[in-house]
């Protein structure tokens, strides 16, 4: 057990470091810039330079901040993100911990990070930090609900909370591909819902309300500098990578792919597929970050409660239909129709929502 854990820790920390580089590069290219290209060829050593810089930077703590909580918050921000990796099956032969309540564990742990954000925001004794922390709590609490319900669909279909069994349930089929849950109507909807939820949970653009630079400086980590700031960033990135891993496990077939199997060779191939899919999810995240503008707070919460929540509940019903309609073509047609119906209805409802024209009190 120690070896998988060491492996996962080192590999995912490496992935984290290079995600920051890939992200900066990709965002640069999206904006027709070069991105980092000074430290090493293609900026390949940039993460190391960044780490060093953050390590030797001055660590400033506001005098009137709550010193202890201020110190504790970044630590608490990182720990749950790392714990999340413990239930992600990386390959058929490489599962750090096979918990029989893996999914539940993942959700329970990932919610702890919001506590860290709130502690950080509260202890800083800074209005912007506090605002950011409040926003973070509102956002994570709202998005947790549709996200968990989207996961419930998968749990219902598999009949287990264990991530390993969920991954196993998606093997087989043509080339180990056709059984991925994303190729089921309910699985596809669940995938979209879960990805949106995961993005909101790790506070990434377009859901970066808690740290909206143009509105509240940096939100809860306004008063953090040096390595504590780095820890917050690290927690956030690790959480989004781990969430990507869980998304891959639940919807994109986990480690399954052409050639994956229980043997040594199959195990290596399965790891390859897992990391390919993980990279796909990370790139998707970056791409979305480079494209979409930040939503407003009311839009954010409205979207969670009025669109995502009904959709995820409809999705659970769809899984029920899928389970009881054993004649597959009929199940396909029925669930697809049901979900499309809901999607269209919710689109219409969201589009016809009356927003009163804004009145400006001070600007004419």
């Amino acid at each position: 057990m120690a070896i998988p854990i060491l492996f996962v820790l080192s590999v995912f920390l490496g992935i984290f470091a290079y995600t920051t580089l890939v992200e900066r590069k990709a965002l640069g290219r999206i904006q027709n810039r070069f991105g980092p290209n000074r430290v090493g060829r293609w900026g390949i050593l940039q993460p190391i330079a960044d780490g060093l810089k953050l390590l030797i930077k001055e660590d400033i703590v506001p005098r009137r901040a709550d010193q202890f909580v201020h110190f504790l918050a970044p630590v608490i921000a990182v720990i749950p993100s790392i714990l999340l990796f413990s239930v992600v099956p990386v390959g058929t032969r490489l599962v750090p911990v096979d918990l029989n309540i893996g999914i539940l564990f993942a959700f329970a742990v990932s919610t702890v990070s919001v506590l860290a954000l709130f502690m950080g925001g509260w202890a800083s004794r800074n209005k912007f930090s506090l605002l950011g922390a409040m926003r973070a709590v509102a956002q994570v609490v709202s998005y947790e609900v549709p996200m968990v319900l989207a996961a419930v669909a998968v749990v219902m279909a598999v009949g287990s909370l264990s991530t390993l069994r969920i991954a196993r349930a998606q093997s087989g089929g043509i080339l180990n591909v056709t059984n991925w849950f994303v190729f089921r109507p309910w699985g596809f909807v669940g995938f979209v819902l879960f990805t949106i939820g995961a993005m909101a949970e790790s506070a990434r653009t377009p859901f970066d309300i808690p740290e909206a630079e143009s509105e509240i400086i940096a939100g809860y980590h306004t008063e953090y500098s040096g390595f504590k700031f780095a820890l917050f960033q690290m927690g956030e990135y690790l959480a989004s990578i781990a969430m990507a891993g869980i998304t891959v496990t639940m919807f994109l077939g986990g480690y399954n792919g052409p050639g994956s199997g229980p043997g040594w060779v199959g195990g290596l191939i399965s790891m390859f597929w897992f990391f390919i899919k993980l990279a796909f999810m990370i790139v998707l995240n970056i791409w979305i970050r480079g494209t979409w503008p930040r939503v407003r707070v009311d839009q954010l919460l409205g979207f969670a409660w009025k669109v995502l929540l009904p959709m995820s509940i409809a999705n659970i019903v769809a899984v029920g239909m899928w389970h009881y309609l054993t004649f597959r073509p009929l199940a396909w047609v029925a669930t697809t129709l049901w979900l499309v119906l809901w999607f269209v209805t919710l689109s219409k409802l969201a589009a016809t929502e009356n927003v009163a024209p804004r009145t400006y009190r001070y600007a004419s």
């Binding site: 990709a26 290219r29 027709n32 070069f34 791409w287 494209t291 979409w292 999607f343 969201a350």
Partner: protein, 191 residues
């Protein structure tokens, strides 16, 4: 046919096009990789003033400035400081001993250039003036300020041609005036 999220997907197509395009289409990448590449600054761009001298072999003696202090008086933020050079007897040598321009104060207005009657001070276009300190390092002294007339001609060809022609005409007029008076022909003390 619109549906929820169509605009978002359209946006993603645009950014994907940017991303891929930036690797193939050189027109897209407008960044200038500064220390290795530089943009050609326009001829009339200006940064800080410098003092012109004529003879490369003897900059101090052939500088055009006569320390008349007009620029010092006119400079709006008062960032020029001039001390006249005097010989042992206290007779002015018609050139500055100290000529300082505080580049942290200079606002690059070019007024000193406009008022100088001797075309002795001109605007430079060297923008790489960063220094490690905030105080003394930013003050330029006489040796830093002295630059040759060729340099001036190189950075601002059009302007320099006009100035050169004007100075030449003035010199010839002076020579003509001096010649009938029977003085010896002008063999450039200040050429």
């Amino acid at each position: 046919m619109g549906f929820i999220g169509k605009g978002l997907l359209d946006g993603m197509v645009v950014t994907a096009r940017n991303f891929v395009g930036s690797y193939f289409d050189k027109e897209r990448l407008v960044t200038v990789q500064y220390p290795e590449e530089r943009v050609q600054t326009p001829e009339n761009s200006r940064t800080f003033p410098f003092l012109v001298y004529d003879d490369n072999k003897n900059p101090v003696d052939t500088m055009r400035c006569v320390a008349c202090k007009i620029c010092e008086t006119e400079c709006p933020p008062q960032c020029i400081y001039i001390v006249m050079d005097r010989d042992e007897k206290g007779k002015p040598r018609q050139r500055p001993k100290v000529f300082d321009i505080d580049t942290s104060v200079c606002m690059q207005c070019q007024i000193c250039v406009e008022v100088c009657p001797f075309d002795a001070i001109k605007m430079d276009n060297d923008y790489e003036k960063s220094r490690y300190g905030r105080f003394d390092e930013l003050v330029e002294h006489l040796p830093d300020l002295l630059k040759s007339n060729e340099y001036y001609g190189r950075i601002k060809p059009t302007e320099a041609t006009v100035v050169d022609a004007k100075l030449k005409a003035e010199k010839e007029k002076k020579a003509k005036k001096a010649a009938p008076a029977g003085a010896k022909p002008p063999t450039g003390s200040k050429s």
